[in-house]
Subunit: 468 residues, 2 copies
């Protein structure tokens, strides 16, 4: 009997799927955003999908997989776009879709199972007491809260609260280890960093406790500019207004808005750059005053005064922003891709100008204003009119040579997509919590190859990468 | 019949007080904080106090005073500490204490009469829907919302929302003009600036619409440091943590905390500087982690884990901060006074260090961290061991020569206490709304003396200043 057969026996009574087509479907995330990852990961698939309904069932899966040396890759909704959830070594997909309950809501706090869809959590906290999560990815309506914490960074709301990993943006995580007898750990304070943004390589998050903030009927706004850099200045100034509550500020360069935002096209001229905003309803008077002060700013759309006919079929503003900008681009032009850039404070505007001048329409600008270490600055998710991998790397190098660090979304490892160095805390915790290295293999270089030279420009290739 | 007798006749049916002792009492605010103002204003008194119950009654008062050329000085609770509410030319005190109703609460918004006490508004919005005002002065439990808007600047909560005058921190004001037929104006957006922080010199605010934010049971925390500058660094770092929700950060230098915070004395060593904080309850784990990282920081007191015995008789943390620090000092040592200083970003820490080195224990440091134009920096309300007015002016000059602007709290005029220049918008509105110059006379230099030279170092003396 193969290990897999033995494993299936151990999992009797659980919801299991081994139809290869469905398994392959549940083995995929949005890695195909990257033409580089697309080539590498297109054939990756797991052997089995298990969908536990309780923490006890997850423990059963972990024990069995540990016993049979079968890799386990946890899956929320599979919306990660660096192949975070791709089971490089096959094995089991631990699908958390059925662990989706909101367990407790109180002032400023929600407790939920890790598989809960982010917008569903907000639906419940809003109805309960007019509260909502501080941050969400633009995949609000599909991504899970556990997947966001294990695989995401920030998003809508980061203009007020910074990123997920900022102290205070996650309150508590309940985590299972991958051992003969899985431990159940409750992590708070400094401990949280062990498993956040670790792609599930060193523990399974089963329950999260997150801070809430006041919920509002955010007004979607699109402001138009003839010059992209005027939109950037507008976004920067708006972000620095302490009393004007917004949840999202995204300057996006022409021709992206008109060409890729098909349903909003009617509001946007072909040569117009825009700033997409979400504004608190009671702040709209102040917002209109601010737009009035800004010469060249044109209020193209606001959802609070738009007619039903105008609003019909429009996606929410946040689905024009963050990685949805890229997605909308890909739908119109499948050859484009994107980057992730930080324009450090206080020279963010000059850096954006410089890169725009250097790269022009080959790399149309898309910025996301955020709070970063207490200051307002911008991340970029610029689109890239992709030609070759060599040119893509050149573009990355150009950014870095100009003081704009790139978080490379064309790499599936933690280190290459992040700080390009070992995260000692996460590595140490993996040694303890996953001694056999069965959790999401191939994603933590420090584990796979402790001697790896991060200063080399070489791509890490996971030796275990399974080929179809 | 004197103008006053005629006026009284016109006001029949309203609540009027002309007992000189009570009138004098209701003519006073906290001007005596300043040894300079104490000398100038101690004898000032009005002739009559009128306490209207409705806007219609206020209109009746204004019409009558206009007809008889009697000055009107509006009064909230009289907690202003630059003599803002002192009736320099006598006349009527328009006491808004009876205009104290909360009229409407919805998501993110409260509408209240101008005379409502700030903490009372919060009591109602909390009970209604877990909301509270963004900002309040440390006179939370006594000051009115109208007095705060007309005479205050910011306070607890400014670390998150900036100052009152930042766009978006006041939504709408309902304002009466001082004309033969008073107009009722609704101001929003750009218009708001006309009457905010104008000391009631160009209109009477009868109703306010203010933004709300989520209410929490804030935890009062006192952190101790051997070195004041370590506390300053702690406050700066804490203010720049994007995900850790606090409402107040006030570094205060030894020996102030031990010597003046009598009820907290038991927690604080004699030579200890402190940082007084208010922290969201769910952020206390993260806060404790942060304190743990900071070498030399010692958690002296936290209200969430303190015993009833420890908490007994303690004032709330915000009553150790802002101008309550000064008040507590004055109670122990009536000879001290204070200043109001801005330490501009990004050199705030260096500026504080410089001033501390220059002035030592003559000017014990008291900082209030705030958000200012999108950045975290600090205001100072340092105590001053007062000797002479000449030395006080020298200390002010020392600050200004070192790049730290002083908002002089020893002046009763708008200009001298503020930007030292004419506010053209407020002056223009006064011309329209108070053509006879009857509202709070003597407070707007630009009105009294259009040719006044603000660059001269001379003190403005209101010629109409009434002497007892
Ligand atoms: C159109 C689009 C827009 C996006 N916008 C944003 C954005 O604004 N901000 C942002 O940060 N990201 C964004 N992303 C990336 C992605 O959507 C987010 O990271 C998302 O939160 C992932 O959630 P998920 O449930 O789909 O996680 P998955 O993709 O299923 O998993 C992500 C990673 O976490 C691991 N994981 C999942 N659940 C657990 C668990 N319970 N315990 C341990 N490990 C776990 C997985 O193994 C994987 O490594 C976007 C992606 C797309 C395609
Ligand atoms: C111990 C102490 C602590 C303080 N802390 C702070 C602080 O943290 N932050 C801060 O900003 N200030 C502070 N102050 C100053 C003062 O308390 C605040 O400005 C307070 O908000 C004033 O409210 P009030 O109702 O007492 O106003 P008043 O003192 O009665 O009036 C203030 C000014 O506004 C005018 N006014 C009042 N109501 C109206 C109206 N409805 N329409 C038009 N004009 C009107 C008055 O004529 C006067 O010029 C403090 C003062 C003290 C004594």
């Amino acid at each position: 009997m193969s290990a897999l057969e033995a494993l299936k026996q151990d999992l009797e009574g659980l919801q299991i799927e081994d139809n290869p087509q469905i398994v392959k479907q549940k083995s995929r995330d949005f890695f195909w955003y990257s033409p580089v990852l697309k080539g590498q990961l297109d054939d990756v698939t797991a052997d089995l999908v298990v969908t536990p309904k309780t923490e006890a069932e997850i423990i059963q899966v972990l024990k069995a997989c540990f016993a049979h040396d079968v890799p386990v890759t946890t899956r929320g909704s599979g919306t990660g776009n660096y192949g975070q959830a791709m089971p490089l070594a096959g094995g089991v997909i631990l699908n958390l879709a059925a662990m989706d309950k909101v367990k407790e809501i109180r002032a400023g706090v929600v407790v939920a199972e890790a598989g809960a869809i982010i917008s569903k959590i907000d639906d419940e906290t809003r109805a309960h007491s007019g509260q909502e999560l501080r941050l969400h990815p633009s995949t609000y309506r599909t991504a899970t809260i556990g997947g966001f914490i294990a695989g995401g960074s920030g998003g809508v709301g980061s203009i007020n609260w910074g990123g997920l990993r900022d102290l205070g943006n996650v309150l508590r995580l309940r985590v299972l280890t991958m051992e003969a007898e899985p431990q159940v750990l409750e992590m708070t304070g400094e401990d949280l960093h062990k498993v956040m943004h670790a792609y599930g390589t060193n523990g399974i998050i089963t329950e999260v406790e997150m801070p809430l903030t006041a919920a509002y009927d955010w007004v979607d706004v699109v402001v138009g500019f003839d010059q992209f850099m005027d939109g950037v200045q507008f976004g920067d100034d708006l972000g620095n207004l302490d009393g004007l509550l917004v949840k999202e500020i995204a300057p996006i360069a022409a021709p992206v808005p008109h060409e890729y935002f098909l349903r909003h096209q009617k509001f946007i001229r072909k040569d117009q750059s825009v700033v997409v905003c979400m504004v608190a309803p009671f702040a709209m008077d102040a917002f209109a005053s601010f737009v009035g002060r800004f010469s060249g700013a044109e209020l193209l759309y606001r959802s609070d005064t738009a007619s039903d006919a105008e609003k019909k079929g429009l996606p929410p503003a946040y689905e024009l922003a963050w990685n949805h900008t890229t997605l909308r681009g890909l739908r119109v032009d499948p050859s484009i891709t994107y980057l992730q850039v930080l324009y450090p404070f206080p020279t963010q505007i000059e850096s954006v100008r410089k890169m725009t001048e250097l790269l022009g329409d080959e790399v149309p600008g898309h910025l996301e204003y955020v709070r970063f270490d207490g200051k307002i600055t911008c991340f970029g998710l610029p689109l890239v009119r992709y030609t070759t991998e060599a040119r893509l790397n050149e573009i990355i190098k150009l950014h870095e040579d100009n003081g704009c660090p790139v978080f490379n979304p064309h790499r599936y490892t933690l280190e290459e997509g992040g700080m390009k160095q070992t995260d000692a805390v996460q590595l140490a915790f993996k040694k303890q919590a996953d001694p056999k290295g069965l959790l999401n293999p191939g994603k933590m270089i420090a584990w796979e190859n402790p001697d790896y030279d991060f200063s080399s420009d070489k791509l890490f290739l996971f030796p275990g990468l399974q080929r179809g």
